[in-house]
Amino acid sequence: MSNQTGVHRRRFNKALVAAGTAAALAPFGILRAQSAKLKVGVLLPRSGFQGLIGQSCQKGADLAPEVIKAMLGVDIELMNADTETNVDVARTRAERLIQEGAHVLVGAFDSGQSAAIAQVAEQRGVPHIVNIAAAPQITEQGYKFVFRNFQTAGDIVREGLALIGELFQATNTVPRTAVFMHVNDTFGQAMARGIGAFMPRLTQLPFRIVDTISYDPAAKDLSVEVSKAKASKADFVLLVSRLNDAILLRREMAKQRWNPMGVVSPGSPGMYEEQFYKTLGKLSEYCISNVPWYNPKAELTKTVEKAFLKRNPKDQLVFHGLNAGFTFEAILVAADSFKRARSTDAKTLADAIRQTNITSKMMLGGPIKFNEKGQVEGIGSACVQNLKLRPTVVLPVSAAETKPVFPMPGYKPA
């Protein structure tokens, strides 16, 4: 949790002495290059615009060393850095962490910041495992040191739209029209493109998009946008948003007395975040997010949940499902690779990461296995609905806690 760079410098100097001794003794096989610890640089937006989400991710990181020690017998040291929701800071912090001896980097939730860190990592030849970031280009650059254990925007949209189809089947509803609202930033754009690409192919979906409304992520007033959306008379809202604008939109919808069948996100943050419930209270109910999520029934989930509760007794893992879960898994990948590589050498680690095959995991979907682009394929999504003021998995049925509610109560056909 602390970013005590002074402390880390001392540790680094000690490590330097240790490494020097180790190098001197290496030929004799007395001390191998297997340093006792793996230093993981964790870069997250703990302050600034995305501060709350970054802190949420950090919770997943903080419990990792303990859980991983018990699981794999591997020692991890976290080096935490705050990107301040700023691309420049992300870049310089990444450089700093590498300078101070981080063996692998993990981060950073936001596509822009992650891309900047990826560039630094690639340039310096240090492995970077992206915990959460959807922009496809991060793993399309041909980089050898960048890995991502998260869906790309394309994956998110494909899974998200498929789940929407499942949702309608499960609730026996046939909405004909949707209004697509999206935030105009890196993420929103990537998602919009994904939807543009996938919608025409998914002919089994009963609805078509009657209007697309993009809005400024920094907008403080979304009344015009909501007026436009309401005027489209669409059956439901397809929403790609961030946290603050999701809150604004939901409120504005209530103000303008617009009650569509539902607000469904094909895969964006915001509506499942703790702040959404805290701020909106009852208004948060019934909103749906189709996002990668943890499998509530997995063994590892239960272990992580126990560790989470120990550290955060007044909190619940469910409010940090996506954020903490993927951050934990990223560190798990690093530790697992370290265990197999038995070395902290960057190239060896990168090669080991490329050979990763973790089947007992926490998040939904297939095993953690990187393809030649450094991307994990087959990460699953869940339909997460806000029920009783908490994110509740309602689909797929195998992981569901209860049945979905759609249309939401109070629905008034336009």
Partner: protein
């Protein structure tokens, strides 16, 4: 006794030349950043410090320069040394347009400053909607590992970027020194102090002001190109942001507006202060978000209040150095 600044300058140059030999890569990146701000601050200084036209939207030129060279590289594979000229051309054009509109219509002072802000903001939002340039998602230039020096495409180890920026900063210093001593320099100072009086002496204020804008925007275009190829990712929200414009001018204003060494000194002081504060606060354990910027703001406030002409003039007096022209 008034010493000439040349001795000091020579010492500084020697130090900067050998810096990479004993500085770690992080220190090197900080030094590169300082030189970047020194250079860009110097460029801004030409327009505002020398000629007295307050530009608060200078990030416009950084952004246009960066995107111009970046887009040429991204879409057509044209290297930065060629893209540089297109970037300069575009920026000078923009500068001349703004200058023409402003000076012909008699806009000056605060209104001119606001005009420059408006243009920068307008461009920022505009670029957010230009998909060819990546839109809000940003433009990412491909990077490769840093063990080879590829000068043609401006790719290489941090040392290469350091020396390039050092060369630019040095060049800017020389250029500005020359400009100050030239006719342009004297006319600019006259216009800055009192435009009416200058005009009455027969100085074509419009022409000389336009020249200042052109030189300033051309120089800033170069830093934009450097930015694109050093950082390799461009976002309209960041690069055209008013925060960037303000960041650019902090150096020269704190260091000493209108002086030669002001921008350099200011850039060094501010960057080191910012970094030093981060370390200090981390060591003290005071890591509340925002606390660093509060300290930063307080320092700014104190400098503005007690050293109104900037740090350099006060320091120069102390050291007994007399610059080409005292403000």
């Amino acid at each position: 006794m008034t010493r000439s600044p040349v001795a000091l300058l020579a010492a500084l140059a020697a130090l900067l030349l050998v810096l990479p030999l004993f500085a770690g890569s992080y220190a090197l990146s900080v030094a590169t950043l300082i030189l970047y701000f020194a250079y860009t601050g110097q460029a801004w200084n030409v327009m505002t410090g020398f000629a007295g036209q307050l530009s608060l939207g200078h990030s416009l030129y950084v952004g246009v320069g960066a995107y111009a060279a970046g887009a040429l590289f991204y879409h057509y594979g044209i290297g930065p040394w060629a893209g540089l000229w297109i970037a300069i051309l575009l920026c000078v054009l923009m500068g001349l347009i703004i200058g023409f509109l402003a000076f012909r219509f008699g806009i000056s002072g605060v209104y001119f400053a606001l005009l420059t802000i408006a243009f920068a903001e307008f461009t920022r939002i505009g670029f957010d909607h230009l998909d060819w340039l990546g839109g809000p998602g940003g433009m990412f230039l491909k990077v490769a590992q840093r063990d080879q020096i590829d000068l043609a495409n401006f790719r290489g180890p941090p040392v290469m970027y350091y020396y390039t920026m050092l060369a630019f900063a040095g060049g800017a210093l020389a250029l500005c020194a020359w400009l100050l001593r030239s006719r342009a320099g004297y006319y600019w100072r006259a216009i800055r102090e009192d435009e009416e009086a200058a005009r009455s002496l027969g100085i074509n204020a419009f022409r000389w002001k336009m020249l200042a804008v052109a030189i300033s925007s051309a120089m800033t275009a170069v830093s934009g190109v450097f930015f694109a190829f050093y950082y390799n990712n461009l976002f309209p929200e960041q690069i055209f942001s008013i925060n960037r414009s303000i960041e650019l001018i902090l150096g020269p204003v704190i260091g000493g507006l209108g002086t030669l060494f002001g921008p350099i000194l200011g850039a060094a002081v501010l960057t080191l202060l910012s970094d030093g504060l981060t370390d200090l606060l981390a060591a003290l354990g005071w890591e509340i978000p925002g606390i660093k910027q509060v300290f930063y703001g307080v320092v700014l406030l104190l400098v503005v209040m007690f050293l109104p002409n900037g740090i350099w003039p006060a320091l120069a007096k102390r050291l007994g150095i007399r610059e080409a022209e005292d403000r």
